[in-house]
Structures are given as C-alpha cells and as structure tokens.
C-alpha cells in the first residue's frame, strides 16, 4: 500500500487538479448486486426520496433516480480527497490528510437529509485518516431508518484491485468501469495542453467483517452479502 505522501506525489506532480475518467477503451463489466436489489425494492415503490451518490458523476445513476421522481446528489469524495490542500502532518510528523478541512468542504448537508447513500467502494480506497470521520458524517446526514450501501474487497481480491465507478443499469445490476485519473497539465511550448494520465486509486486496506462492524457501530443494523467477485456488499441502516 502506498503512503499518503506517495499517493499525493503521484496525483499532483505538476498538476492543477485531477478529474476521474473511465479508462480509455476500458471494458465495462456488469455485476449483480444483492444490496442494490434490496434498495431498489424501496426506491421503486416510493416517491420523492433523497439519494446521495458518492461515486464519480454517473449519468446513468442520475437518470435512474430522476426517472423515479427522486432527488439525487452527486459528490465524488474520492476525487475530492486528492485535493493537495488537504495534506498536513500529524503530531509524529507523518503525512496525513486534514479530515476537518475535508469535512468543511465536502458532505456539507443538513442532518438527517438522505434516505439512501450509495458509498460504493469508497471506504476501501479512501485515505485512512478520512475513513472514520467520513462514516461519522454519513451517519449524521442519513435519516433514521435510511440505508447506506458500501462494497468491501475481501483479501482474495488482491492489493491491485482496480477502483471502479458504478452505474445502475437495472434493479439489481451494475455496470463497472475502471477509474483512471486525468490531470490537466500546463500548456507546452507550442501552446498545446498536455494531459497526464495516471493509474487509478489504490486499494488502501482490506477490512474484515469485524472492522466493518466497528466502522458502522453507530448504525442500527448491518447486513452482509458475499458476492462471487471477492466483494462483500454491506447494507447498513441508521
């Protein structure tokens, strides 16, 4: 696993700001999602729900929810976490991300605002210093009884598991697209804009079931779905 500083060096060397884009020519994979299926049963029978999607901007997801008459909020937290201004040092002098600044700029919503939160694989790729503060904020912006869906890799997935963005294409079906980072570089001597592309986000850790239960210990209930692709889907209820 790369350290915070290594990750930042990779993302920001000479960069003005990263954006996530699907890998060029990347194959889109589809997967069944039991957790999504369970959520879908609720949002397909209700109206005017409030949904927070924490993945990369997905036209498919926005279309899915607006067609059902719901409001959707899109906020790409993983990309936001690569803001170089977040980099600071802890008491031991280790490079960490400033979680207070991060939460001052992101996830700024009224308490108990959302019926559903789609976390996707965010906790697996988010920097360690942000995971618990972010989950705490998610608890506070979720309505009592509201549900949150998150995906966690199992150890069998391996450390190089690519980070995907998720598009809802059916009640229990997702399309997965590998994420790479695009950085707008400076103009070259000819005036042409050079764009650097780096690999996507790296898996930061593998949570076991106990870690996951601890992470969501403030929530009322937690349900695990073990998928075939070395991913555990977790559905938690506030």
């Amino acid at each position: 696993m790369s350290s915070v500083s290594q990750t930042f060096m990779k993302f920001f060397r000479g960069a003005s700001g990263p954006e996530t884009i699907p890998a060029q020519g990347s194959q889109k994979l589809t997967r069944r999602s039991s957790g999504l299926g369970e959520l879908s049963r609720t949002w397909e029978s209700a109206e005017n729900l409030c949904v927070l999607d924490l993945g990369s901007t997905s036209p498919a997801n926005i279309r899915h929810f607006t067609e059902h008459g719901h409001r959707i909020y899109s906020e790409d937290l993983l990309t936001a976490s690569t803001d170089p201004e977040l980099l600071t040092k802890d008491e031991q002098g280790n490079a960490v991300l400033d979680s207070r600044k991060f939460l001052a700029d992101n996830l700024v919503y009224p308490a108990a605002h959302f019926d559903f939160i789609l976390c996707w694989n965010l906790p697996d790729y988010l920097d360690e210093s942000l995971v618990k503060p972010v989950v705490g904020r998610l608890w506070s912006v979720l309505k009592p009884g509201g549900m949150l869906l998150a995906f966690f890799h199992t150890r069998d997935a391996g450390p190089d598991s690519p980070c995907h963005r998720f598009h809802i294409i059916g009640a229990d079906t997702l399309e997965m697209q590998k994420i790479v980072l695009r950085r707008e570089a400076r103009r070259g001597p000819t005036g042409a804009v050079h764009t650097a592309i780096s690999d996507g986000f790296q898996l930061q850790r593998v949570f076991n079931n106990r870690h996951i239960e601890n992470l969501f210990r403030d929530f009322a209930s937690i349900k695990f779905f073990l998928a075939r692709d070395n991913v555990r889907e977790v559905l938690v209820v506030r």
């Binding site: 954006e19 884009i21 699907p22 901007t57 926005i62 607006t66 409001r71 909020y73 899109s74």
Partner: protein
C-alpha cells in the same frame, strides 16, 4: 464541439463580468462571469473556456466549461463531457454526457399532465 450560431449574443473568452447579467436573447458565454445570470425564456451556453460563478436562471442551459452556482432551467440542462459543475440543478429535463463532472443536486421539475 459546438460553436455559437452567428445570431447568438456572445461573450468572448477575454471578457470578465462581475454583477448581474440579464437579457431576452440567447447567450453564448466563453468568458468569465461572477454574479448572477437571468435569461428567462432564453438559453445560455457556457463555452469550453467559460468560467461562471453565478446562479443561472434560463430556459435552457448548456455547459461545456466550468460553472459554480445553482442552475434553474424552465426547460432543459445539458452537461457536455467537458463540463465541471458545482451547484444544484433544477430543470424539466437533463442530459449529462459521459465525462461531465457534477457536485450537487439534480431535481427534475414535473409538469402536471393535462
């Protein structure tokens, strides 16, 4: 990439405006605007070089550049693949190209069927 039609009012990429911008014709904006934009009954296109920090109220809004502020459209909003939008969007229809970035809410206004 679409280019502005000759009949459109245009704000070029070297133009910087701070304040309230209003009008009764379609507008192509490739410069910088900070404040508010009201084009009720008409459309706004933010070109690829456009950088807008303003609330927008228009019939239709097309974004190819950067827009920071809420968008209220009585008809439709199109976010093209180069769009970077931070703000809430309220419209009757919305189209988002793959690659567009949005941080904010999307709410579709419903018209009552007669």
């Amino acid at each position: 990439m679409s280019t502005p039609a000759s009949s459109l009012a245009q704000i070029g990429k070297s133009v910087v405006i701070k304040g309230e911008l209003s009008g009764s014709e379609d507008l192509y904006l490739d410069g910088q605007v900070e404040g508010s934009i009201a084009l009720k009954g008409n459309s706004l296109t933010v070109g690829p070089n456009g950088q807008v920090k303003a609330s927008v109220d228009a019939k239709g809004v097309v974004v190819q550049g950067k827009l920071e502020g809420n968008i209220q459209a009585s008809d439709r909003v199109d976010l093209r693949k180069s769009a970077i939008v931070t703000g809430d969007i309220s419209a009757q229809r919305i189209s988002i190209e793959e690659g567009a970035f949005l941080k904010g809410k999307v709410e579709i206004q419903r018209t009552d069927a007669k």
